[in-house]
């Protein structure tokens, strides 16, 4: 089972957000999806999740274009978006129960899964509190639980560590590796390059909507004579001299 993007483009109000992107994410691997702000990562994620349509090109999962049966594709996909969009008036338990029902999961099994996941993510005691009272990290855990409930074949993680405490972040890191080992297709987007370097075997780097690198981290490091993924990223996707910019900022606020 493979996720495959073929020449996918997307334009918003005339601006090309995603420009002829092609890559594959095979099962059993964690594919890191990197790029600076505005490079088109989240737009690509939303297109793969079926939230927005592609402008051109094709997205295939398991060899089938997802647009042929978007509902079936969503049944097999778990998506953790960058922003935690939830029904804040519901409690965490109510929200997850609603997600399970909308995914037509058997009530007994989904109840056990929700209960177990909430315990493992230390949310069980707060399950009856409204989501509006949750912290950012707690909301992120709810999103993660909702994305995992139906045991998806494809897991799209867009900045999944946002707001998570250290222990949960460590659990999540191990979890995605465990899921990859069980044959899931995982596309993982994060600005924490160190984490990506630890969990991903290969990365796709976007710059201004275009793919500038699609290779294993090891190969990229060797190719770019770089010690870390951060250095590779700096060479490929950063246009600024970060040290010079930081000096200028420090000087500016002193004037």
């Amino acid at each position: 089972m493979t996720l495959e993007l073929r020449n996918v483009s997307k334009r918003f109000l005339g601006v090309l957000a995603v420009d002829d992107v092609s890559f594959s994410a095979p099962a059993g691997e964690i594919t890191g999806y990197l790029g600076p702000n505005g490079s088109g990562k989240s737009t690509t994620m939303k297109m793969i999740a079926g939230l927005i349509e592609t402008g051109s090109g094709e997205i295939l999962f398991g060899g089938e274009p997802i647009r042929h049966d978007l509902i079936a594709h969503k049944r097999r996909t778990g998506y953790v978006p960058e922003e935690p969009h939830l029904y804040a008036h519901l409690s965490g338990l109510e929200y997850l129960t609603m997600v399970a029902q909308l995914r037509a999961l058997p009530a007994k099994r989904s109840g056990e899964r929700i209960d177990g996941l909430l315990r493992l993510l230390s949310l069980h005691s707060d399950r009856h509190a409204p989501i509006s009272a949750y912290s950012k990290g707690m909301r992120q855990k709810i999103l993660l639980t909702g994305a995992l409930l139906h045991d998806p074949d494809l897991l799209l993680l867009d900045e999944p560590f946002s707001g998570l405490d250290v222990s949960t972040a460590l659990v999540l890191r191990s979890l995605v590796q465990e899921l990859a080992a069980r044959g899931k297709v995982i596309l993982f987007s994060s600005h924490e390059l160190e984490t990506v370097e630890r969990v991903s075997s290969r990365v796709v780097i976007l710059h201004r909507g275009k793919v500038v690198a699609d290779d294993s981290i090891e190969h990229l490091r060797a190719l770019r004579s770089a010690a870390t993924l951060e250095e590779v990223f700096s060479q490929l996707a950063l246009e600024q001299d970060t040290a010079a910019v930081s000096r200028e900022i420090a000087n500016l606020i002193r004037t």
């Binding site: 997600v99 029902q101 909308l102 509006s132």
Partner: protein, 452 residues
């Protein structure tokens, strides 16, 4: 699966019709508590409306409400129920119309889930429809059952369906009583002339070429006196015409010049003339602002010349360039006071001297001596309760005359045949007094009194 999804989304959207994020502080996150509180409020009002039906039914059965009040009550309640239903539907349409469409939050939350857009949209529409139906059911459920049952007891005979009779052929005076008895008597019976103490009555006088016929119903006798109300204003208008014919005044005279010295100062702009007062174009309000306390009768009967002059001193006699018609009892009160002042007598005396005396209307007066008072009909208020006579003082020139059917026929015959009366020219003049037609641009200057 679609059915399950519909049920889940329908429940979610139904609870969300009330903006839970806005009100959740009160509900402490429990949407059911909040919705329960709202439902309780609606049911509370619904019970009050329903209880109103019970009270109304009891009043109708007990005969506490006269037929006219029953009719007014029934119509008012029907209109109220219809109006509140429309109000609720309208409020929903205005406040929650956007609830029928998925918003950004719905797209972001439900978009990644395998839910069809049609299921989502249908759940939204049905949730809004349910909320609207529930609101109406809670508010009007009880009243909707109770009021039709209560109104079913209401006898709608006081409001017969509209029917148009063929034109009535001309009737001679001699035949009039039988025609009246046939056509009007059934209606008069329904008016409940017996009233509380049997004192109510109607008198009808007819004159044809000098042949008179006076018919009485209920407690009325042919020589019974009635308060003729605003017909008095025609007497005041006739007095004005008489004094104009006699050269004692001009219709264009400012009223200020007729009032006692010091009552009104000359205004800077246009000022009220006698013609303005007689044609309800003075711009004066219907009633003064300084009557004493009490009900309408008490306020009118206790209003005296000193009160009127006090009002004029404060209000002044100015008018705008283009005063529109506005019926004013106060205007005729001022006119009567001005005419009496110019004649150097009281208004009742002026009426007696100028009109009722020359016409021989011995049973017509404002202040009644005991013999006339004994024949004055008992008056009844809207609710059929007896009301004391209205002995007007300053307001007499607007509605204070009492008269009999016979005297009123005399007055009518004088109006119909001015040439036979002792003041033919004045009667003709009074019948021709009217506002001059306004020119296309501005007021007719002939009848305006300019300053200076």
């Amino acid at each position: 699966m679609k059915k399950l999804q519909f049920r889940v989304l329908y429940r979610e959207f139904l609870f969300r019709i009330v903006d839970l994020e806005l009100l959740s502080a009160h509900a402490e996150g429990d949407s059911r508590t909040l919705l329960g509180q709202l439902a309780s409020i609606l049911v509370f009002f619904g019970v009050i409306l329903g209880a109103g039906a019970g009270l109304w039914a009891a009043s109708v059965r007990g005969g506490a409400l006269p037929p006219l009040m029953q009719m007014a009550g029934a119509w008012t309640m029907e209109h109220f129920l219809i109006a509140t239903t429309m109000l609720v539907v309208g409020l929903f349409a205005v406040l929650r119309w956007e609830s029928t469409f998925p918003d950004k939050r719905d797209v972001l939350v439900l978009g990644p889930l395998p839910v069809r857009a049609s299921t989502l949209f249908l759940a939204k529409v049905v949730a809004v429809a349910t909320a609207l139906g529930l609101t109406l059911a809670l508010l009007h459920g009880l009243a909707g059952i109770a009021w039709p049952l209560a109104l079913a007891q209401y006898d709608s005979t006081p409001a017969p369906a509209l029917a148009f009779d063929p034109p009535i052929p001309p009737v001679h005076v001699a035949d009039f009583p039988s025609v009246m008895n046939r056509d009007i008597a059934p209606m008069l019976r329904r008016l409940d002339l017996a009233a509380a103490d049997g004192g109510a009555g109607i008198v009808i006088g007819v004159s044809e070429h000098g042949v008179r016929r006076v018919m009485t119903y209920g407690a009325a006798k042919p020589d019974s006196l009635f308060e003729i109300g605003s017909i008095t204003k025609t007497f005041t208008g006739l007095l004005l015409a008489q004094m104009a014919v006699q050269g004692k005044l001009d219709l264009r005279d400012p009223v200020r010049e007729l009032l006692p010295p010091g009552v009104a100062a000359a205004p800077k702009g246009f000022e009220i003339t006698l013609l303005d007062l007689a044609t309800h174009h003075s711009g004066l309000p219907g009633m003064p602002d300084n009557p004493g306390p009490g009900d309408l009768r008490e306020r009118l009967t206790n209003y005296h010349a000193s009160d009127l002059y006090d009002f004029i001193r404060r209000h002044g006699v100015a008018k705008s360039t283009h005063e529109k018609f506005a019926y004013s009892n106060l205007g005729f009160t001022v006119l009567g006071a001005a005419l009496a002042s110019r004649a150097g007598t009281s208004y009742p005396d002026l009426v007696q001297r100028q009109i009722t005396g020359p016409l021989g209307m011995k049973d017509t007066a404002i202040s009644l001596p005991p013999e006339l008072r004994s024949r004055l009909m008992q008056g009844y208020a809207f609710d059929s309760r007896p009301t004391p006579a209205w002995d007007l003082d300053a307001f007499a020139s607007a509605g204070g005359i009492r008269s009999t059917a016979g005297d009123m026929l005399t007055y009518l015959e004088a109006q119909l045949h001015p040439e036979r009366s002792p003041f033919a020219a004045a009667l003709v003049r009074s019948q021709r007094i009217s506002r001059p037609r306004r020119r296309r641009h501005g007021h007719c200057p002939r009848l305006d009194v300019r300053p200076g």
